[in-house]
Structures are given as structure tokens and as C-alpha cells.
Symmetry: C2
Subunit: 99 residues, 2 copies
Amino acid sequence: MTNAFTALADPTRRTIFERVAAQPSAVGALAAELPVSRPAVSQHLRVLKDAGLVVDEAHGTRRVYRVRQEGLAELRAYLDQFWDQSLAAFRDLAEAEDA
Amino acid sequence: MTNAFTALADPTRRTIFERVAAQPSAVGALAAELPVSRPAVSQHLRVLKDAGLVVDEAHGTRRVYRVRQEGLAELRAYLDQFWDQSLAAFRDLAEAEDA
DNA sequence: ACTTACGGTAAGCGAAAGCTTACATATCTT
DNA sequence: AAGATATGTAAGCTTTCGCTTACCGTAAGT
């Protein structure tokens, strides 16, 4: 799950993820809209898939990729954890300064 | 803001962020707990700062880093956007399959 | 069956990232 | 004022990353 950050770090890969989020798409369709080759897109999708951010489904000879909601949920939960932590730490700090 | 993903992609840097979230800390204190050198920690903190995920405050000769809540908020908002998008796309797909 | 379309994989190359050591800067202490 | 403490910065090296081209497998159409 923590690998999702690595997956979304690259600009091209993030763009691919955005397109897939806007509309589930096949590899070739994505590559046609991007300034990189089709194999590059394929490799990026593999990284996104390994990170649990997308899933693929065979549709004839095409492979349609779509966002995996659970991946997004896990990522958000991870961030929320730090949100709570940092708020608590800030509160502790304020209390310490009062003393 | 989108650079926050790059900032959190590296494992060492993510650990640093976790420590800072748990408790605002100075550079040396962080480096003492990590398997990398102090300059490395300093460089990582610079990346996190540029990404808007942490802020630093001078405390004497030390520099205390803490989480920047706004950075986390922006990151979560970005993810929520995809959450909504992918749900809508999924709904559209289901409707299309009915037809 | 043969051809065409679509996509994953391997090899290799240039750019970028992360680390270390060495050096520079600023603040606190005595 | 001088030394000590704490941190940022520069240079260089090694590894990783993203890209391309070439190749292979699989499913559909004729």
C-alpha cells in the first residue's frame, strides 16, 4: 500500500491514473493520448496495478484498466492516520509551552 | 502539491515524515534514529518542505520540523477527487452495460 | 488456417535520485 | 572572542527509473 506513493510520484504515471479514473480505458487508447510509447504505458500500468491502485479486465483482445477503490481508500486512511497524529502532537506541544 | 507523492515515495523519507508526524523533531534527533547520515536527513526534509508537507521553525541552533496540516489536507482533497471520479465512471459503466 | 490487432516482456541506455564525505554558516556557551 | 553545537550545501558516486526498440503471446476476423 505504501508503494502507492511511488506509483503516483511519476508525472506520466499520475496522468495515466487520472485518465483511468475519469474513464476506464485500454492500453492503446491511453497511449494514443500520451507522449510516450505504448510499452511505456503498459509498464506504468503494471506499477499502478502492483500498488493496488488499478485493476484490469480482459475485454476481447483489449485490457481495460480501471481504478481500484480499495486502493484509494487505503491510501486515504494512511494519510488520515498522520492527520490525527500531527494534530495530537501539536496539542501536546501547545500544552508543553504553557508549562 | 502533486509533488507530495514524490516526497512520500522514498521509504526513508516516509519514515522521517512518520516520525515528524508523531512528534515534531530536530534534524539531529531524527538522524540518530535512522540508518542514514545527518545530511541525508537534511536533504530529505528539504524535499518534504518543498512539497509543503512539513514546516520548520528555528529553536536556538536547532531547527524543529513539524507536519504542515494544509499539505496533508491538499493531498487528501486530491485523492478524494479521484474517488468521486472513479465512482462516477463506474456508475456510467454499469448503466452502459444495462443498455 | 492466416492475418491482423492488441498488449505484455526483455534488453539496454541516459537521466535522475539518494547517499556519503567534506565544507560553510549560524547560534549558544563560557 | 573563541570554541562547541546544530544544520544546510556542494561534489561525486552508485543505483534506480523511465523510456525506446525489438520480440513474443493471445484473441478476433476473414
